[in-house]
C-alpha cells in the first residue's frame, strides 16, 4: 500500500501482496536446492505469512532459512521475502526459546572481548579437534565450522598508538564492525591507510556491535539495543553529517536498511546515519567517477577471484570492487558468479546446519578450485572464513589489495 504512513515493518509485511507465486525466488534459493528440510522462500515467506496472525506461530521449517537474502533480491515483484522470513524466525524464537549457543554466537563483540586477553589460548582451543568435538556436543557449534582468530591487539588498541595526521576538512567516519576490531585489525588499518592516501581524515570513534547476528538469530530486543547504541556512538555531535564508511558488507547493510525494515527501529538518527553510510568501494567508486580517486598504483601481480557476498549484492551498488580493482596494473581479476558461500553469518556454524551450508557453498568452492587464484577477495568476514575453509585458498578483504596497490605492505 503506497502513499500511506505505515511503519516500515508493516510495509515489509504488506509486500506479501505483491507475490504472484512465480517461483523465481525458489529457483534462486541456494538452501532449498540442497535440502528438503527447507521448503523454500516462497512457501515460508509470503505464502505462510497469510497464515500468521502474530499470535501462536504455525511454523517450523522457516528455521532453515539462512537469511542470505537472495530471494528478495531476485523477486521480480519486489516482495521482501527474506525480511518476512526473518521476522517469522524471530517469532519462533519468542515462542520456543532458543539454544544458549545462539545467544553466544550472536555476540561477536562479547566473544572478541573475552578471547582478547587469552588470544593465543583461544586460537589454540579453536583449532583443537578434541575441544571442538566437546564444543559441538555441549554448545552446538559444529566442530569443523570456521571460526575467526582472536588477537590481543585490536584495531582500537592499535589506533591509540597511531601517529596523528594533519587534519583536513574532508573527514569521514569509519564503521569497522566487531570482526575487524577483534579478529582482523589489518582490514581496518588498510582501510584507514587507503582513505588517508586519498586525502581523507578518518575518525574512528569507539563503537560496538551493530546487532546483526542478534537479529539473524531472532533476538530482536537485544539487537535493537545494540543498534541504538551504535547509532549514538557513530552520530556524536562532532561527527554530524559526515559520510560513514563500512568495510563489512553485512554490518553495512544492517545499518543501511535492515535495522529499520526488519527490527522496526524507528529512530530519526538511525535514518540519518543510514542515509550517510557507504560501503568502502561504493565510496571509492563515487570518488573515481568524480575524478578524485588517486590512481598512483604499483603493480600487483596476483591472480585474484572476487566473490561478492550476498549482503553486498543486497545493497544494490553493483560490484564496485571490480570497477576499482580493474584499475590496478598487473592484477588478474576474475569475477566469481555463484550465489552463496553458505555460511550466512552464523548459520553455517551450527551443528544442524553446517552440512547444508557446505553443500550450498560447494559450487562456489568448485569454481574457485578451477580458477586456482592466489587469493579470494570477499567483502564479508564470515564469507572469507567459509571460503578458506571450503577451498584451502586464503581469502582477504579487497581493500587489502588496494592497500598493496598503493604501495602498502
Amino acid at each position: 500500500m503506497t502513499g500511506v504512513e505505515v511503519s516500515p515493518v508493516e510495509w515489509v509485511r504488506g509486500s506479501l501482496d505483491q507475490c504472484v507465486k512465480c517461483t523465481i525466488c525458489e529457483s534462486a534459493c541456494p538452501v532449498m536446492e540442497v535440502t528438503g528440510l527447507f521448503l523454500g522462500p516462497k512457501t515460508v515467506g509470503p505464502q505462510a505469512e497469510r497464515f500468521r496472525t502474530g499470535g501462536h506461530s504455525p511454523d517450523h521449517s522457516v528455521d532453515y532459512c539462512s537469511g542470505c537474502g537472495i530471494c528478495t533480491r531476485v523477486c521480480p515483484q519486489g516482495v521482501r521475502i527474506a525480511e518476512i522470513n526473518s521476522r517469522a524466525k524471530a517469532q519462533l524464537r519468542v515462542e520456543h526459546g532458543g539454544r544458549l549457543r545462539d545467544q553466544l554466537i550472536a555476540r561477536p563483540e562479547v566473544m572478541g572481548r573475552l578471547a582478547r586477553p587469552v588470544a593465543p589460548l583461544f586460537n589454540w582451543a579453536m583449532s583443537n579437534q578434541l575441544l571442538r568435538a566437546v564444543g559441538q556436543r555441549m554448545v552446538g557449534i559444529h566442530r569443523l565450522a570456521p571460526v575467526p582468530r582472536a588477537t590481543t591487539r585490536t584495531l582500537q588498541y592499535r589506533l591509540q598508538r597511531r601517529r596523528p595526521r594533519r587534519p583536513t576538512t574532508r573527514r569521514v567516519v569509519y564503521f569497522h564492525g566487531c570482526s575487524t576490531n577483534y579478529f582482523e585489525p589489518r582490514v581496518g588499518l588498510a582501510t584507514i591507510a587507503v582513505l588517508e592516501h586519498n586525502g581523507f581524515q578518518v575518525e574512528v570513534p569507539r563503537q560496538g556491535c551493530c546487532g546483526l547476528p542478534l537479529q539473524s538469530n531472532g533476538l530482536y530486543p537485544a539487537a535493537r539495543d545494540y543498534i541504538r547504541r551504535l547509532t549514538s556512538q557513530l552520530s556524536k555531535p562532532d561527527l554530524a553529517g559526515l559520510d560513514v564508511i563500512a568495510t563489512s558488507t553485512s554490518c553495512g547493510l544492517m545499518v543501511k536498511r535492515e535495522a529499520i525494515e526488519i527490527l522496526g527501529v524507528e529512530d530519526r538518527s538511525l535514518e540519518d546515519l543510514a542515509s550517510r553510510t557507504y560501503d568502502i568501494f561504493e565510496f571509492l567508486r563515487a570518488r573515481h567517477d568524480a575524478g578524485e580517486l588517486r590512481t598512483d598504483f604499483v603493480e600487483v601481480p596476483l591472480t585474484v577471484a572476487y566473490h561478492a557476498p550476498c549482503q553486498q549484492q543486497n545493497q544494490q551498488i553493483g560490484k564496485p570492487v571490480l570497477d576499482i580493482l580493474s584499475l590496478v596494473p598487473g592484477l588478474k581479476l576474475v569475477e566469481l558468479d555463484r550465489g552463496c558461500c553458505g555460511i550466512a553469518g552464523t548459520y553455517g556454524t551450527k551443528v544442524e546446519k553446517y552440512d547444508i551450508a557446505m553443500r550450498v557453498g560447494a559450487p562456489l568452492f568448485g569454481d574457485i578450485s578451477e580458477v586456482q587464484p592466489d587469493l579470494v577477495l570477499c567483502d564479508s568476514e564470515t564469507c572469507r572464513w567459509q571460503i578458506s575453509h571450503g577451498t584451502g585458498v586464503a581469502s582477504v578483504h579487497p581493500v587489502e589489495i588496494l592497500y598493496k596497490a598503493y604501495g602498502g605492505r
Partner: protein, 520 residues
C-alpha cells in the same frame, strides 16, 4: 436416486437453513431428504462474508435481531467450534461516524444482553496496527469468523448419521399438490439429466433468496426480496479482528478476517433475479473506498476477488410488498405455514434471517413441521455439538500451515496458496466423485488464494485424470471452465497486483500450456 422415492420431510435448499433443518429434523427422528439444485452452500450461504454476528450491528436499528444474534452466537460457539475462528470484534468510532451513536450502541447492547467492553484506543491499535489511528472510541464484542461451507457440511453429515439422504445437484422442477396439501416434488438430477418423482409427507422450503420461486411451484406467494450485497476479498488479512464502524448499519462498514483473506462488505440493493447479481465496477470501487475509514490505505491494498450474494429479505407483516430501502427490512426470520396462509398444507417456508441465526430458524421451521405432522418432539440442536466440534476447539488460522509442515514429506502440496495437499484433493474426490472442480474448490479452498488457480488447477486436473475421476475430455474441460470461473470473480478487480497475477496466469494457461488449442 431411484430406490425409495419416498420421504417424510423433503427439505428444499442446501444452504445453512436447509442444512440446519435437516440436522434438527433428523435428530427428532424424521426421515429427511435434502435437495439443492447445485452443490450445497452455493447460494447466499456460500456468498456472505463469514461473520458470526455478535449482534452489535443491530442493537440500535433492529433490537430483536440483535438479541437473537447474541443468543445464537453463544450457542454456535458451543456447538460449532470447529467452524468458528474466535477473532473477536471491534466496533470503532471513526472520524466520519457520529460520536453520539456510541452511547446508543452501548445502551442497545445492554438491552440485547450482548457482551461488550470498551477498550482504550491505544489497545485497539496495538492489536490491529492497520486500524485507523484517528478512531475516537473502541468496543470489544463477540464477533467471530464462521466457515459457512464447514458448518453446512457438518450439519448434513450429522443429519446423514441419523439416516438423512443428502442430494446435491437435484433441481426441483415442480411441487405436487393433492387435495390441499403437498404430496411430493419432481426433481431433475442436473448431472445426469434424469428426472425423478419424490413423495413427501411434508416439505420445508428453505430456498433462501429463491424461496418465492419454489413457493410459486405450489401455487403460493412468498414476497422475498433478494437484496444484493457485494463483497470484496483482500489478498491477506489486513486485520485479524472483525472491525465494524460504530454507526447505523450502512454499506461497506465491516471488514471480516476469514481464513487467509479479509472481506469488506457490503451493499444492499433490491434485485429481481437472485441469479443475476454480478458486481459492477462502481460497486467494487465503493467498497474499496469504504474500507478507507477503517483501514487507511485499504483502497490501494491488493483486492483478490469480488462476488455478490442475494439476501432473502422478507419484510415482516408484508408478505407481498416492495420496499424502498432494503436496509430497513428486518433481519429476523419468518416461518410461513402455507396451510394457514394459502390453504396448501404440509408446506412450510422459512425465510428472512441471517446465517448467524440459522439454527434458530431451523428450530422454528422444524417445530412447525412437527406441528403439521402432529408429532410431539423437542429441538435438541442447541445442546449437541456438530460433527468435528465435539472437542470444542475453535479453528485457528495457522492450522493448515502447521499441518502442512507435519505432512510435507509424505503428501505433496497441490494448491500452495491455500495449502491443499494431494491427499486432501483425492480423498475429497473419493468421498463424492460427482463433484465438479469448482465444488472441490469450495470445500478445499483450492484456487482461492492469490494465484486464483494459476498453478493448482493444472495440478488438480492432472491428478484427477491420473486417478480416473476425469477422462481426458473432462480434465481439459475442468481446467478450462475453472479458469473461466476464476476469471469471472476477478474481472472487476483487475488492477494493481491482481492484474499482474492474472497476466501471469494467462501466460501459464495460454503461453505455456496452450490450453485454448487443446483438442476437444
Amino acid at each position: 436416486m431411484t430406490e425409495q422415492p419416498e420421504t417424510e420431510l423433503l427439505v428444499i435448499g442446501g444452504g445453512s437453513t436447509g442444512a440446519g433443518v435437516a440436522w434438527d429434523a433428523a435428530r427428532r427422528g424424521l426421515r429427511v431428504t435434502l435437495v439443492d439444485r447445485g452443490d450445497l452452500a452455493t447460494g447466499t450461504t456460500g456468498r456472505f462474508h463469514g461473520l458470526l454476528h455478535s449482534g452489535g450491528r443491530y442493537v440500535v436499528k433492529d433490537p430483536d435481531s440483535a438479541r437473537e444474534c447474541a443468543s445464537e452466537n453463544r450457542i454456535l460457539r458451543r456447538i460449532a467450534a470447529d467452524c468458528i475462528e474466535d477473532t473477536g470484534g471491534f466496533f470503532v468510532t471513526t472520524p466520519i461516524d457520529d460520536p453520539a451513536y456510541a452511547d446508543r450502541f452501548l445502551a442497545g447492547c445492554a438491552v440485547a444482553d450482548m457482551p461488550v467492553a470498551e477498550v482504550p484506543v491505544s489497545e485497539a491499535l496495538r492489536q490491529e496496527p492497520l486500524l485507523n489511528p484517528r478512531i475516537s472510541r473502541a468496543f470489544a464484542v463477540e464477533d467471530a469468523a464462521i466457515d459457512a461451507w464447514k458448518t453446512v457440511w457438518a450439519c448434513v453429515r450429522g443429519a446423514a448419521a441419523y439416516g438423512a439422504r443428502i442430494l446435491p445437484y437435484h433441481e426441483v422442477l415442480g411441487i405436487r399438490v393433492e387435495r390441499d396439501a403437498v404430496v411430493g416434488a419432481t426433481l431433475r438430477n442436473s448431472l445426469s439429466g434424469a428426472e425423478v418423482e419424490v413423495r413427501a409427507q411434508c416439505i420445508v422450503n428453505a430456498a433462501g433468496a429463491w424461496t418465492g420461486q419454489i413457493a410459486k411451484m405450489a401455487g403460493c406467494h412468498v414476497g422475498v426480496v433478494p437484496g444484493k450485497g457485494v463483497m470484496v476479498a483482500m489478498n491477506h488479512r489486513l486485520v485479524n479482528t472483525v472491525v465494524n464502524r460504530c454507526t447505523m448499519p450502512g454499506d461497506g462498514d465491516i471488514i471480516v478476517p476469514i481464513r487467509t483473506v479479509c472481506v469488506i462488505g457490503t451493499t444492499d440493493v433490491p434485485v429481481e433475479d437472485p441469479d443475476q447479481i454480478a458486481p459492477t465496477q462502481a460497486e467494487v470501487a465503493e467498497m474499496m473506498e469504504a474500507g478507507e475509514a477503517l483501514v487507511p490505505g485499504f483502497s490501494r491494498a491488493r483486492a483478490l476477488r469480488t462476488w455478490a450474494g442475494a439476501r432473502p429479505l422478507f419484510p415482516k407483516g408484508d408478505a407481498s410488498g416492495k420496499v424502498q430501502d432494503t436496509r430497513d427490512v428486518t433481519r429476523s426470520h419468518s416461518v410461513i405455514k402455507h396451510g394457514q396462509v394459502d390453504g396448501v398444507g404440509h408446506l412450510i417456508s422459512i425465510t428472512g434471517g441471517k446465517f448467524t441465526t440459522f439454527r434458530l430458524m431451523a428450530e422454528d421451521a422444524v417445530d412447525a413441521v412437527c406441528a403439521e405432522l402432529e408429532l410431539d418432539s423437542a429441538c435438541t440442536t442447541a445442546e449437541v455439538p456438530l460433527p468435528d466440534s465435539e472437542g470444542h476447539h475453535f479453528y485457528w488460522l495457522g492450522a493448515r500451515q502447521e499441518s502442512m509442515e507435519e505432512r510435507v514429506h509424505d503428501d505433496a502440496v497441490i494448491c500452495e496458496c491455500e495449502l491443499v495437499t494431494q491427499g486432501d484433493l483425492l480423498s475429497a474426490a473419493a468421498r463424492r466423485p460427482e463433484q465438479q472442480l469448482d465444488d472441490l474448490r469450495r470445500g478445499l479452498r483450492l484456487g482461492m488464494g492469490p494465484c486464483q488457480g494459476g498453478f493448482c488447477s493444472y495440478r488438480a486436473a492432472g491428478l484427477l485424470h491420473h486417478d480416473n475421476y476425469y477422462d481426458r475430455g473432462q480434465a481439459n474441460q475442468a481446467l478450462g471452465s475453472f479458469a473461466q470461473e476464476r476469471w469471472k470473480g476477478q474481472q472487476t478487480v483487475l488492477w494493481g497486483q491482481q492484474l499482474r497475477q492474472a497476466r501471469l496466469d494467462t501466460w501459464i494457461f495460454q503461453g505455456i500450456l496452450d490450453l485454448e488449442h487443446i483438442p476437444a
